[in-house]
């Protein structure tokens, strides 16, 4: 890495450790479920952070790729009895491939149009999973997906070893994102995000950088999907409107803050519905209120962090000019 490391505030180090240890204290199925679910959403958020926070792509269709990964993993496991590591990776790879195809014909367009196309693609994927009865069983979904099985050990249920597996995955994703963020590729993306014209004039290939970021983002989104499939052992055509919005709101909040912010946003918005459960009927209303409050007032806190990062990025851009450009 040839740029000054961002100083990692100590508070962000303390929190994840507490959160990882938390489920082990409670020994409770329900807590573990939330913890595992949060982990899946953290991966989704990190993927979105890459696409939106680093590269400035507005991806409104993330839920579609999420569902694609889930269905791919499910079908490969059920129809062809492929072992877990393969189905797991396949979910990511298939999403990445479709993402690549989508990027090929839409990445040249300006941000908003790309957003609209991504939304359309997600809707198309959703309808296909709903009506392609022969393959996806339509609304009845695909039950009975086998649980993860590594080296002969089957993770039978929602228990502690399962959570450890998830934590490992989250760590791998996080480290990948961190590495990207501090690499030349990351710098290029940031430059593109801030101004495509400026980036182009610096000789950065805007199209390919954005495409690669998008493909990587879709890969991790698909991975999250395959994990969803093996976790719930059931996938149905529910990756639609409301799911899209849930994922989007988390991601957008996460995209604004730095990488740790993305993680926090995911955890917060996964546990929030659970905390709000006693409100019964009014739960969704409260959730809506919270969303609004968070966006409007959370900005002032998150906004400062973003400004600081931008300042650092500007220095890095100068660095880039001197250091030469070697991004594909």
């Amino acid at each position: 890495m040839n740029n000054p490391k961002l100083k990692w505030p100590s508070v962000w180090l303390f929190l994840p450790i507490v959160l990882i240890i938390l489920p082990f204290f409670f020994h409770n199925q329900y807590i573990l479920q939330i913890a595992n679910l949060s982990s899946i959403y953290i991966i989704l958020n990190l993927a979105m952070h890459l696409m939106m926070g680093e590269a400035g792509l507005i991806n409104l269709g993330q839920a579609g790729f999420y569902g694609l990964g889930a269905y791919a993993a499910a079908l490969l496991a059920l129809e062809f009895n492929l072992p877990f590591p393969i189905t797991f990776l396949a979910g990511g790879l298939i999403s990445a491939f479709v993402g690549f195809v989508v990027a090929l014909f839409s990445m040249k367009l300006k941000g908003l149009y790309f957003a609209l196309i991504s939304l359309s693609v997600a809707e198309i994927i959703r309808i296909i999973t709903l009506v392609w009865m022969d393959v996806t069983r339509g609304p009845m979904g695909l039950p009975g997906i086998p649980r993860p099985k590594l080296f002969g050990y089957s993770f039978p249920s929602n228990n502690e070893p399962y959570f450890i597996l998830m934590v490992i995955l989250v760590l791998i994703t996080y480290l990948t994102m961190y590495w990207i963020q501090h690499s030349n590729f990351g710098l290029a993306l940031n430059t593109i995000r801030d101004s495509e014209h400026a980036a182009a004039s610096l000789g950065i290939n805007v199209f390919w950088n954005k495409t690669i970021a998008f493909v990587i983002g879709c890969f991790f989104t698909g991975l999250a999907g395959s994990f969803y499939a093996h976790f719930f052992t059931y996938v149905g055509p529910t990756f639609g409107w409301h799911q899209t919005m849930l994922v989007l709101t988390m991601s957008m909040l996460g995209a604004l803050a730095g990488l740790p912010g993305a993680v926090m946003a995911a955890i917060l918005l996964t546990t929030l519905p659970e905390i709000l459960r006693p409100l019964a009927m009014y739960r969704q209303v409260f959730y809506g209120v919270l969303l609004i409050v968070l966006i409007i007032y959370g900005q002032s806190y998150l906004g400062q962090r973003l400004k600081r990062r931008l300042k650092v990025d500007r220095l890095q851009t100068q660095d880039l000019q001197k250091g030469g450009q070697n991004n594909g």
Binding site: K110, S120, M281, G288, I292, I295
Partner: protein, 289 residues
Amino acid sequence: MFIQQLFNGIMQGGLYALLAVGFALLFGVLRLINFSHGSVFMLGAYLTYIFITNLHFPFLLAGLISIILSGFVGIVVERISVAPLRKRKMPFWLGMITTFGMALIIENLSVTIFGGSYRSFPTPIKMVGFEILGAHVTNIQLLTLGVAMLLMILLVLFTQYTWLGRAFRAVSQSEDTSSLMGINANLIVALGFFISGVLAGSAGILVAMYQNIVSVNMGLGVGLKGFFASVMGGIGSIPGAVLGGFLLGIIESLTSAYISADLKNVISFTALILVLMWRPMGLLGKEQL
């Protein structure tokens, strides 16, 4: 049979167009995807239902009051979820999340207050069917299409020929410049939400009349259709939204008729993608981004 299918498409398209137009108004002015459009749509219909059934208002009065109330709900949405963002100069796409929050609030409060089942919507007019060019049409269908067209024409006239309409277009082109010209942008935005709310509420009442049914869930898919139509027709273009709406209705109808009803969304969204690839600003849109 083709004529009948075409008619079906046009009827449905008229309703989509009305939805799209209210949507496009805000999209054009603020680049805002207003996710609460569907909720206001539902409120317009449901409030009318309540006024007629529980308060025994006559139909026209109930409808008028609901429409005006819908406009005010639009303003409430703006005050709570959009104005704070504009004040702080935040990126426009955050408005998506806050309006989505408003949608959650409105829809779920409605479910709690009104209950989740669908209800029969009291239609004041007796249905009379007749044949035009070999296709079956009813008087209610023609009425809803007529009212929808009237509202849309009024809106186009408004934006093209009145002072207020010009102010709208000015603000959508550049907020800063128009402020310099003495236009109070905040007022314009609030007015925009009012009009958008009125249109959404009217659309809700028309659809409820058309189907005889009202339910708290009727707004859910609506946002997507309105959004689709206004994008396809052209961002920021009201006539474009109208065109987009009719196109959507016709595409859906013909797909249902000749291919398969399941696939109508797939086909329509593919069409959208193709249009965007070829002409990103939409069929009638002007390059404004």
